[in-house]
């Protein structure tokens, strides 16, 4: 029965496909191929021909750029509902790797583009998502360019918490499926500096480090640091 899968998809409301009417959803579903990736598996590399776009349905993904000498900048983390392909022209501008087992809806970029051409409000949705991502990227520039190490870590935790909150995750426990190295590469720091900042926040009882995450004990204090 066409449409049956997407219709019951939990992440649809917060995703690209949330913009679609039922009959359009069926069209989109016809193009989608569900794909799984194992932990650590690369979905695609940076600067290769972009053949697909993706909608993350479960798990989380790191998106990164590499410099020739190996320095790495994580440009974002994708979580369920996120769309990969907003800024993909002919070639990918970043690489993507599964942080944990990940499932996606994978689309041929060509077929997806063709559908978009005939569905202005899908295009509109993509535009709105791209605008929002652009705004987040600018916020990240402020964080990396003008904040101290501790502020960066706190902003990161509060930002993640906000994103997970969209899935009514227990909002004081922030899952951290990424390594310290990923966090460091996202914040323009080293792993040691991230570790020290987290330890310090733990010592001060502002957070509690738990397996694969942190619990935010003193949100007011954290927000005071981030608002500075």
């Amino acid at each position: 029965m066409p449409g049956s899968i997407c219709e019951h998809c939990g992440i649809r409301p917060s995703s690209v496909c949330g913009a679609l009417e039922q009959h359009e959803l069926a069209e989109l579903e016809a193009l989608a191929r569900p794909v799984c990736y194992a932990q650590r598996q690369q979905m695609f590399a940076q600067d290769e021909p972009a053949e697909s776009v993706y909608n993350v349905t479960s798990g989380s993904v790191r998106l990164y750029r590499l410099l020739p000498d190996g320095r790495r900048q994580v440009v974002g983390f994708a979580i369920p509902g996120d769309f990969l392909g907003l800024s993909m022209s002919e070639r990918t501008v970043f690489g993507a790797e599964a942080l944990e087992p990940v499932t996606v809806c994978k689309f041929s970029r060509e077929a997806f583009a063709h559908l978009v051409d005939s569905r202005p409000h899908l295009l509109r949705r993509l535009y709105d998502l791209a605008s929002h991502e652009l705004s987040l990227a600018q916020e990240q520039m402020v964080i990396i360019g003008r904040r101290t190490a501790e502020e960066r870590v706190v902003c990161f935790l509060l930002g993640l918490r906000k994103r997970w909150a969209a899935f009514n995750h227990n909002s004081v426990t922030v899952p951290l499926p990424m390594t310290r190295q990923d966090i460091a590469d996202f914040l323009g720091l080293t792993i040691e500096t991230v570790s020290r900042a987290i330890s310090k926040l733990g010592r001060e009882k502002a957070i509690l480090v738990v397996p694969d995450g942190v619990r935010l004990l003193d949100v007011a204090r954290l927000e005071a640091i981030a608002a500075r």
Copy 2:
């Protein structure tokens, strides 16, 4: 005569309006209000209701975000052909100030949005621009997060050169209408560090500092630094 101004506009090919047919151009022109800003004049502030969108026709503009304690991050510089309003929802996410006398086509955001709704390929153009901006913002994250002071300055100069090149500006002389402070706030550095990096490049004959700009003397060497 409708359409006569836009039709001969030099920046149109590289701008949003380049996507439009002649009859659409006339519609757009009907909405446009030409406005001038003096040097240093603020076009709009951060986090205020976004009532207009803008297309820069001459001069250049700094776009910045402020932290409550006054730290500033320049998130970009707009030059002729650039569109301000890609990432503006109900409120502005950055402030904008003229670096030199600036002229723009100013549009009511509402009227512009209405036109966009009826013109899918204008929407498409905006989406492509937003994607491109997103990709540039990610590149900027790499520069700020993972590059040394000297590399940042070199990347900045080469990046600006590339943008000015779209207007067949003499491509080895890069105009710098912004102050050292603006450059520093763009690169996540201080004015002193920027000044020192530029002086060093000058001493090494890689660049020549000229009034309101630099001449790139040894592009190969600069590119070697940036490619690192």
